[in-house]
């Protein structure tokens, strides 16, 4: 199939359908309401289920129910709505259900704004709901990559019996870009008979629950989760390296929309002789700790910088990854403002000076 021009939010919906997700429960919230609108139109055409829930609380509990019943299911929301889904995310993780959730992050805190932000990094990566759990978090940077990540999210959720969270922002959800839905092959759904509530006609009953009155059993389960997250780290940690193969002095770390601005800035700076590249995490959990640390141990890398649309959340993971071997430069815009390539270029030039790197003079 040739590439077609499609709005990000609608492409997310179509990608889910192409991945065999025929059920969607959601609640409207800007800037991603078009996903629900698209699903309300498309799902009936393919024999699927669309429900507009009364709240994000209910929408997320509906996907808990549908996922427990063993079908591919998705909801999408934006920051304030994701806060309301925190309860269900914890239960989905605890009951080991494979649900897919998209958070199109907007400016915050509070009602905040509707424009692009990365302020929900901690909420996405460090938990969000109560208790010790992790979502596998994907942070695509283009509409095409969002499509591919949505299509991969379902098999990943089923592989780990764990929620997969995709985060993006209004830039990606509202922008039209060319997409090719055939770039990724859909993996068939894994067998659900062992755990899903499909009716116990010809098998022992299945129970979806997450209550351990015996603390030993609850602790055992937590140890099992640790093993699950280790496996994710070993097998499904994804990142992209940009211009890192010719001995750069500086590594810039950025994800999602911000990584696109950083890419432009690096392109410009390299024309002027600056030696720098970017590591772009695609999974925010698991985070590419090992790769960043390895970069910090090379002889040529002498500085790290982080650019985020938040007060500095991912930078904590970068600092941990490199064990604070170097000071980590930081630049941010917030509240719905996307950094311009010019201000990122100025920041990175200044970082070259501050860190005593050769920069353009080399």
């Amino acid at each position: 199939m040739p590439k077609i021009l499609m709005k990000g939010a609608e492409a997310i919906g179509e990608a889910a359908i192409r991945a065999g997700c025929l059920s969607y429960f959601g609640y409207p919230i800007t800037p991603q309401s078009e996903v629900g609108e698209y699903m309300s139109r498309r799902l009936p055409e393919v024999g699927g289920v669309f429900v507009q829930a009364e709240s994000e609380v209910a929408a997320s509990q509906m996907i808990y129910g549908a996922s427990g019943a063993g079908v591919r299911v998705m909801t999408t929301t934006s920051s304030p709505g994701y806060s309301l889904m925190a309860e269900a995310m914890s239960y989905i993780a605890a009951s080991e259900l494979p649900a897919v959730v998209v958070n199109i992050v907007r400016g915050g805190p509070g009602l905040g704004g509707i424009l692009p932000s990365q302020g929900d990094y901690f909420q996405a990566v460090k938990g969000g709901g109560h208790g010790d759990y992790r979502c596998l978090v994907l942070a695509p940077a283009t509409v095409q990559e969002f499509v591919e990540c949505v299509m991969k999210a379902f098999p990943l959720a089923e592989k780990y019996l764990n929620p997969v969270l995709l985060i993006g922002d209004g830039m990606i959800a509202q922008m039209m870009e060319p997409v090719d839905f055939d770039a990724v092959k859909t993996e068939p759904q894994r067998d659900v008979e062992a755990w899903a509530t499909t009716g116990c006609k010809d098998r022992p009953r299945n129970v979806v629950e997450c209550l351990w009155l015996d603390p030993k059993l609850c602790e055992d389960f937590n140890f099992e989760l640790i093993e699950k997250y280790k496996k994710m780290t070993a097998e499904d940690c994804y990142f992209e390296e940009y211009e890192l193969d010719d001995q750069p002095e500086m590594v810039v770390v950025a994800y999602g929309t911000t990584s696109r601005i950083v890419r432009t800035a690096i392109e410009e700076l390299r024309k002027d002789g600056y030696k720098l590249g970017m590591l772009r995490p695609i999974t925010l959990f698991p985070f590419p700790f090992d790769r960043l640390r390895a970069l910090s141990e090379t002889s040529h890398v002498k500085a790290f910088s982080v650019v985020e649309m938040s007060q500095g959340q991912m930078i904590e993971d970068v600092r941990w990854a490199i064990r604070d071997k170097f000071p980590v430069g930081f630049f941010c815009r917030m509240g719905g403002i996307v950094p311009s390539p010019e201000e990122v270029i100025d920041f990175l030039k200044q970082e070259f000076v501050t860190r005593g790197l050769k920069g353009a003079k080399s």
Binding site: E54, A58, Q61, G65, A69
Partner: protein
Amino acid sequence: MKTIFERPKSMTKAETHYCPGCTHGVAHRMVAEIVDELGIRGKTVGIAPVGCSVLIYRYMDTDMQSAAHGRAPAVATGVKRVRPELCVYTYQGDGDLASIGMGEIVHAANRGEKITVVFINNAVYGMTGGQMAPTTMPGQKTTTSPKGRDVNLAGMPIRMAELLSTLRTPSFVVRSSLHTPHHIIQAKQALRRAFQYQLAGTCFSFVELLSICPTNWGITPVQSNKWLEETMLPYYPLGIYKTPEDK
């Protein structure tokens, strides 16, 4: 020898954890008997609440899902919409359904979800230790209304059957009671009808069961039945509030 009474096939052999005199056991058995009688064990999914009956999934020998506090109707919606061939019911207490879960129950009823809701109204929070519920009677003493429910501050008890019957979406809404054998027989008839409406794909069905909680009411089971009759029945009239045949 002819067997005239036995454990319903849809119940496990687990011993329940309920207090002496509690009516949850009666209500559980009623649900299981109906599942047996309708021959739907293999396609029934129960949704457990948070509250005293949080462990109902240990007692029902069918597929079960637990729900977060108050969210059972949303979880049931998710299950039923993607597998409409299943028989899906929720089992919820008054704190779960009428307080924290008010949004979920009203909207599930209003969408006309083809599910059955078993609503246990015993006028008190049980598991957390006898706090005031939305259904606690005026003047009723609880651990958070030590001088009795003050309706000037807490409002009047919420009557869920009446409230849900105001919705214009067709449904089956009934209130029954479990305080005498006679009422239990009537309650079971209502509950069977509720399941039958679901199986026929007709409508949302809601059965409120007035129940007793001797432990948190601080009186004996016999006194509790009397208190239910004298205090709750006048405020929570029994009967069928709405049927899908209503014009």
